[in-house]
């Protein structure tokens, strides 16, 4: 909020101490100011002080809003990427609660705990997604290695010979393949 400069501005620190820590009256503050060479009416001093408190409150609120927005942004960048709709709704609800608590300047630990507990299902979902991805990779690797082994095995001339030998029974072929793959006699 833009305000006009006042001759009281130069005494801001002192006036804050008088009304804050010392809790003196407007009349007493006006007398002290007069002693410092600043003559001002009680009405003007009261008005100046109210406007100043209003500005301070507004600044505090806006700082809380900005910090809530920052937290909301962090939650979004950490959890919202590729989140399915149901998780997105949880994230948005969480962002709303965090902003609401931030605006109210609440220090109620119970409420903050509830808000942070809302993150749990989101984190569980993330873990599940990660497990799924890891399982997918492992499955892919297994399939690729199996194919490679099969190709390797199929290309083995001896195996081809065994499989294409028309004069052997299945039992004989199996015994021969067993011998080829594992060595020794099939029991």
């Amino acid at each position: 909020m833009k305000t006009r400069p006042s001759k009281l501005d130069q005494f801001t620190d002192r006036i804050e101490e008088w009304f804050g820590a010392e809790k003196i009256t407007i009349a007493a503050a006006r007398d002290r100011l007069a002693g410092l060479g600043c003559h001002v009416s009680s009405g003007r001093l009261s008005q100046w002080w109210s406007a100043r408190q209003q500005r301070a409150m507004e600044d505090q609120l806006l700082a809380r809003v900005a910090s809530g927005a920052q937290l909301s942004r962090e939650i979004e960048s950490r959890f919202a990427r590729n989140a399915p709709p149901e998780v997105s709704t949880i994230i948005q609800l969480l962002q709303t609660i965090i902003l609401q608590l931030g605006v109210q300047g609440t220090s109620d630990e119970r409420l903050l705990l509830i808000a942070s507990n809302l993150l749990r299902p989101v984190m569980e979902w993330q873990k599940l997604e990660q497990s799924k991805a890891e399982f997918g990779l492992a499955k892919e690797r297994f399939q690729r290695e199996t194919c490679e082994l099969f190709v390797q095995w199929a290309e083995d001339q001896q195996a081809k010979d065994i499989l294409s030998a028309g004069n052997k029974s299945n039992e004989e072929k199996i015994a021969a393949v067993y011998q080829l793959m594992f060595g020794g006699q099939k029991k």
Partner: protein, 81 residues
């Protein structure tokens, strides 16, 4: 155009949100914390006036409610405050 203090505060609060939208309840509470003499209805009216004047725009999200953001006109106005 001069805005009343409640509307000025709403624009400044939304400006502090940056790229994040602000839930309607949080915006209403912000106005009422600084202007306790205003009722929730007064605060809502100030917000609706800002919307009607093209300074802010809202989107409705299920379970969450309305999320307000500054329009380019509102962002420009907020920068002047």
């Amino acid at each position: 155009m001069n805005l009343d203090p409640a509307k000025r505060l709403a624009l400044r609060a939304l400006s502090r949100m940056g790229d994040q939208p602000m839930p309607a309840d949080a915006l209403r509470d912000s106005i009422r914390i600084i202007h306790p003499q205003l009722t929730a209805g007064d605060a809502d009216r100030a917000v609706r006036d800002l919307e009607a004047d093209g300074y802010i725009a809202g989107t409705h999200v299920d379970l969450v409610g309305i999320l307000w953001s500054l329009t380019p006109k509102g962002a420009s106005k907020a920068n002047q405050l």
